[in-house]
Symmetry: C2
Subunit: 391 residues, 2 copies
């Protein structure tokens, strides 16, 4: 087990009515005027925004609204938000939506109190030193952004997606009411579940040994998603199923499932290039990349994949031929993805095989030029891996 | 799933060398003079205290020492600590030790800045409104006090043990280095593991349904303890095993394994009377009480106990007679306790059957006069349950 630090200061309020705490929580953080960032009209139509703004009114916190958060959140929207927050003298930020709204809101919170270009942080040219207090009201279980230290933004002019990890990215509070996921399209629920599983699996496939507690926690979260995602996709209004997935999504990405080991984020890095280029849903991109990554890396540690197969998907262990079990687990994972309506091939995603060299070239690298840790992938390896996904 | 709030602000630094951060962490909290509370000479002999005080010296934080924390921590020591902290104008508290030192330190931190008698808080006559910043260096995996909201103190004159739950009880930081558990007597390691399992199981046995994510997390932690406790008891110097148990102990009692449901703390409440009267180790008392509690309550929800048997102890499910599986799980748990050297009968603990009416009478109750939630126990039920433990 590796040494680790772990601190999740985010305050979670989970369950029915959670959104009604927005005002008092912002006020407790010293907020007097909030920039509320959200996506499209769904949070208006559902009645959520009315409940949130009522809560701010009651707490005496004024606000300005900024809609237009989109999947693969854009730098252009962040610049707009920073301008608005400065002009309106906002002293706190509230995201209402899914990971895109929260990720943008993180960037707006940092950028508003920074003299330079916020993109400096995402490019590694500067590190965040201060930010505005940020809270969120979650409407989509997926990215874990509600308490994670990360935020992914796309530079619109180049279609490059870049992630930033910093403790300043953790929201001060997260209001999680599964009811607000009831009207989601099933496809979005499925994309979210796929993202959640990827967050856990990217921590699960590690070369570090003797971290059984974390392995067991990973499997606990994965099993929950495997059990409840099909139910929630079939009926997004199933509160119990959505509640299971919502809390799983939080635990998947606040490092509860990651301590004591080095994860492997190659799948996310590769996927960022896919969704950057084709503007597809992040979860759908992961559904294409992750099984290919597994097939490509399986032989690096067959027993690890066999464990995954047995403990997550309930496969029978083939003690004479563990590679059969390992492969069976990957196939079961692929079947699961298909069962919830996810694409798993390039064609299904709308991606093109001829773009593979371009995609592979742009994937974000470790300082040594490779991507990943479980298996270190160079450009050629990434290309081979992506060709598996062409199928 | 019930609505819940969850916030664990404690900063964890885990692994080799963790203790060397004590000074900088206290300083970051504004501490200039610490009361360091510890137990016996073991933290001196092991060299831990020297490393801790060196770290404080380097950070420019002065300190006074208060030894003498004992299992079942006494109110008398708390009063002594409060006097010392006031006299020496301490502005922060550092516990170095196990749950007893940390629980006492919590009481000292609250009491030092309170005008009345600190026992008011433990008796419910007053609620904590402020406290001194508190950190801890853990030397025993057991109580989870390093990040829990609870503290148990015994009033020496009456032998009554009382627990206090408040967010003010969560230490600001916890330094967890499994190396400092290497010289523990195996019996203490076993008592700690028993306590850890009880903390999880008291959350696991609930009447709330649709909290699969929490069920799965509970089983993840329990399986880890079942796997590694025998290894750590056999060889307390096994870093990997102690690391697994140490982190399990933290997760077991910071409500990671408890959200979304109502737990049942009858076993802890009943045990407090045993260790209060006989001054036995808390873990040993739990090893006697918990199996009896399980046998007494099993018929309330046979399938819950069957799940425990299958998912924690790997029992085969008897689908025709699930009560056989349920009972098998309890027997496996008893065998596990015996295998790590725990008592499971009144006689082995040094308790007396004739004290049962006295013990049962004093157990702390819910407002309705019963104890527990999974099954509500009145005095007669507690007596019957304890008679099972006489065996």
């Amino acid at each position: 087990m590796l040494n680790f630090n772990w601190q999740i200061p985010t305050k979670f309020i989970f369950g029915r009515g959670a959104e009604s705490h927005a005002g008092e929580e912002l006020k407790a953080l010293g907020g007097t005027r909030a920039l509320i960032h959200y996506g499209g009209g769904s949070v208006i139509r559902s009645g959520l925004m009315e409940k949130v703004t009522k809560s701010l009114d009651e707490a005496g916190v004024s606000y300005v609204l900024l809609g237009g958060a989109v999947p693969n959140p854009r730098d252009t929207k962040v610049y707009e938000g920073i301008d608005l927050a400065r002009r309106e003298k906002c002293d706190c930020v509230l995201a209402v939506g899914g990971g895109s709204a929260i990720d943008s809101a993180k960037a707006i919170a940092h950028g508003t109190v920074y003299d330079g270009d916020f993109w400096d942080f995402w490019c590694g040219r500067a590190s965040v030193q201060k930010t505005l207090p940020l809270g969120c009201v979650l409407t989509l279980s997926a990215t874990g952004s509600e308490s994670s230290n990360s935020s992914v933004i796309m530079q619109e002019s180049t279609h490059l997606k870049r992630g930033l990890a910093t403790e300043f990215n953790r929201p001060k509070f997260a209001l999680l009411n599964p009811e607000w996921t009831a009207t989601l399209p099933p496809y979005q629920v499925a994309c979210g579940a796929t993202d959640i599983m990827a967050h856990v699996m990217e921590r699960y496939f590690t070369n570090e040994t003797h971290v059984t507690i974390t392995d067991n926690l990973c499997e606990a979260v994965l099993k929950t998603v495997v059990e409840y995602a099909p139910i929630a996709v079939k009926n997004p209004a199933d509160y119990d199923a959505q509640a299971e997935i919502m809390w799983a999504g939080t635990l998947a990405h606040n490092d509860t499932c990651g301590v004591g080991r080095e994860g492997d984020w190659a799948s996310h890095q590769i996927e960022h290039e896919l969704s950057g280029l084709y503007d597809v849903a992040h979860g759908a991109g992961l559904a294409v990349v992750f099984p290919a990554w597994m097939r490509y890396t399986m032989r690096h540690n067959v027993m690890r994949f066999a464990r995954f197969a047995v403990n997550v998907f309930g496969c029978e262990m083939d003690f004479e031929r563990p590679e059969i079990t390992a492969l069976n687990g990957i196939e079961r994972y692929e079947s699961f993805l298909r069962s919830i309506g996810m694409p798993i091939t390039f064609a299904e995603l709308g991606a093109k095989a001829e773009d593979i060299p371009f995609l592979a070239k742009n994937v974000r690298r470790n300082p040594d030029g490779t991507t990943g840790h479980f298996v270190k992938l160079d450009t050629k390896a990434i290309e081979e891996l992506l060709r598996i996904a062409v199928r």
